[in-house]
């Protein structure tokens, strides 16, 4: 039976195991706003850390070893390699366990997964980045990437709104951007009330949709809108974008769904005719409006 035992049979390429997390070390943990910490990670394998590449808007599967895995967006930009930043909200089992870890502890990371924002395709266009609440997390990657490749884009406009000033993620970093002349950074909060240890709010109050009034001169034919936020935010922001004249395939959004694999196998993220993990998480508004379950 020698012949039978040496058979190749189906010659599927056995590539690297896409389920296998690689060890990464927590470099730092910085509270940003309540229950939202910024974690910095580095792969233990120095070579892997060097060659690790990703696109803004992609996500990783993060393992707290012994607890489980969660999909988390990458908040850092590939234009600043060597360290992976993730802004993580404490929400359940895995994320609570992560909050108990300290710098120098080990976790597992696999990825990057998903399509990400089409940064190359958007070259030569203006970027209108509209974030609500935690929506800033994946958008920060796109924003920093565009700033690091400033010559590739026309105007870069950030409009970011939260309920209170203390809910603004990356607040000091974004306030510093407001001083730059090559980016239009507009922050807005619904109520200016503060907890005692946050700096006073001198900026605008109102809804992020109010900021659309200043956009009349935007050439929407040569712009993309990158829109990420909570469901209610989408309802109003999307119609503002359409009012401005954006075509539906120039409005990009990032969706979240339950995920167990991140690689199109487990079924959990499927919706309409798409898989959020492999077809998304970034979709055009056109894609989304054709999927009744989408938002």
């Amino acid at each position: 039976m020698l012949r039978l035992n040496h058979h190749e049979h189906k010659s599927y390429t056995l590539s690297e195991n896409p389920y296998k997390p690689e060890l990464a070390r927590i470099i730092s943990v910085d509270p940003m706003v309540e229950d939202n910490y910024l974690f910095r990670f580095r792969f233990e394998d120095a070579q892997l850390n060097q060659r690790f590449q990703y696109r803004p808007g992609q996500f990783m599967e993060l393992s707290v070893i012994g607890v489980g895995e969660s999909p988390i967006s990458i908040s850092s930009t590939p234009s600043r390699p060597g360290v992976i930043e993730m802004c993580i909200r404490r929400a359940g089992r895995v994320t609570n366990a992560l909050y108990r870890l300290k710098p120098n502890d080990l976790i597992g990371l696999r990825g990057p997964f998903g399509n990400g924002f089409p940064m190359k395709k958007m070259n030569g266009n203006s970027l209108l980045i509209v974030a609500g609440g935690l929506g800033m997390v994946p958008l920060r990657s796109a924003l920093l990437y565009a700033l690091d490749n400033r010559q590739d884009y026309q105007r870069i406009i950030l409009m970011y709104g939260t309920r209170y000033p203390d809910y603004l993620l990356f607040r000091s970093e974004l306030e510093a951007l407001a001083l730059r002349s090559d980016v239009e950074c507009r922050l807005i909060v619904e109520k200016s009330a503060l907890s005692k240890d946050t700096p006073e709010w001198h900026g605008r109050t109102g809804l992020v949709t109010d900021l659309f009034d200043d956009l009349q001169d935007l050439d929407v034919q040569k712009s993309y809108a990158l829109v990420v936020g909570p469901p209610i935010f989408y309802r109003f922001v999307l119609s503002k974008c359409l009012d401005l004249g954006f075509s539906k395939d120039r409005i990009l959004m990032s969706l979240e769904r339950r995920m167990e694999c991140g690689i199109g196998k487990c079924g959990h993220c499927e919706i309409g005719n798409k898989k959020v993990c492999t077809d998304g998480p970034v979709f055009t508004y056109w894609d989304v409006m054709n999927l009744p379950e989408m938002i």
Partner: protein, 349 residues
């Protein structure tokens, strides 16, 4: 395709010879439940239930296991790949065309874009030997175009009375035959005619028909059909229909800790989109809270999303879910009524 003939008198000897390749899995009748069949390890060729119709659980259980360890982990050393049965060679014997099509669909899902090493390692070690069948009143493979298959098997046996026509689908299949060439005979003109007669008889035996013409589009039009709410009221969300389906592949992943609290295993386990927490996320938001949404999802997944993603639906018409549903929900009836737009009326009359 190369075709040979295996006289029935030689079949048991051939089955025994397959054991040299690996564990031979055959359809068997359950001793305690006559008329109920399952795939199980062969200990003697006489156990093969040649006339079986459908097993309760499809052969997918040998390729994507109900529950399997995929990694061992340690908080300091990280994750080490574990592939259960990685070296286990198997022969899946007696698969009907629908089940072979089921595996072909799993092949696509588990290798598209990313390769799932657990599935493919076992798939690479698996020989598939098909067997012809005569449909019953719950089979609708003909409607799904899965009643015959030209590939996806190493060997395929068609019953022509005194023997089997053996279609040889792969070079491994050819070697399995060559190992016991003494058991096989040349195909003669009368055999060919007997096969054509068999085929005619089989084609005429189908009693169930489902019109799948333009079905994805029709489903898209019927997103708000009252049928989905009706089904939501009847479905018990037991998940049986997914467990018994040859193409349902959903799973969960979770970790199990050892007593030392620093090492353990990562587990992959079958799941079903009918279960309440399937789309539940942190903070308690459930994207398919409504039972009707979950039942609907199963139909849209199979007949709409799979067509868009991979070019064909993921129902092979095996009838298992019709058999298994404790609430009497029948996929053919549902899809027929969706097409006719007649569900609500018949239900309320």
């Amino acid at each position: 395709m190369k075709v040979s003939k295996l006289p029935k008198a030689n079949v048991n000897k051939f089955l025994e010879s397959l054991q040299d390749f690996g564990e031979v899995i055959i359809p068997k009748e359950k001793q305690e439940q006559p008329g109920v069949y399952m795939f199980d390890t062969m200990t003697d060729p006489s156990e093969v239930a040649w006339e079986y119709l459908r097993t309760i659980i499809p052969p997918k259980k040998y390729l994507t296991k109900p529950k399997e360890v995929i990694f061992k982990f340690d908080s300091q050393r990280g994750f080490e790949e574990v592939i259960e049965d990685a070296e286990q060679k198997r022969v899946l014997f007696g698969l009907h065309p629908c089940d072979i099509h089921g595996i072909k669909i799993l092949d696509v899902v588990f290798t598209h874009q990313y390769t799932d090493p657990y599935y493919t390692r076992r798939r690479n070690n698996t020989v598939i030997i098909g067997l012809s069948c005569i449909p019953d009143e719950k089979c609708f493979c003909k409607s799904m175009h899965t009643d015959y298959t030209e590939d996806g098997f190493d060997l395929a046996l068609s019953d022509i009375g005194d023997g089997y026509l053996v279609a040889i689908g792969t070079s491994l299949g050819d070697d399995l035959v060559a190992e016991r060439a003494d058991l096989f005979t040349e195909v003669e003109e009368t055999d060919r005619r007997k096969y054509l007669d068999f085929r005619k008889k089989r084609n005429q035996s189908f009693k169930l028909d489902l019109d799948i013409d333009d079905l994805p589009y029709i489903l898209d039009l019927e997103q708000h059909s009252p049928i989905w709410d009706e089904l939501g009221k009847r479905c018990l969300t037991c998940g049986s229909c997914s467990m018994v389906c040859p193409t349902c592949y959903c799973f969960n992943v979770y970790d199990e800790l050892n007593l030392d609290a620093r090492s353990g295993r990562r587990i992959k386990q079958w799941d079903a989109c009918l279960f309440k927490d399937y789309a539940l996320v942190a903070g308690g938001h459930n994207f398919r809270e409504d039972r009707a949404e979950r039942v609907k999802n199963r139909y849209y997944h199979k007949q709409f999303r799979m067509v868009e993603q991979y070019g064909k639906p993921s129902c092979v018409g095996c009838g298992r879910c019709i058999n298994a549903c404790p609430a009497g929900i029948d996929v053919v009836e549902v899809l027929t009524k969706v097409r006719e737009g007649s569900y609500a009326e018949t239900e309320s009359s």
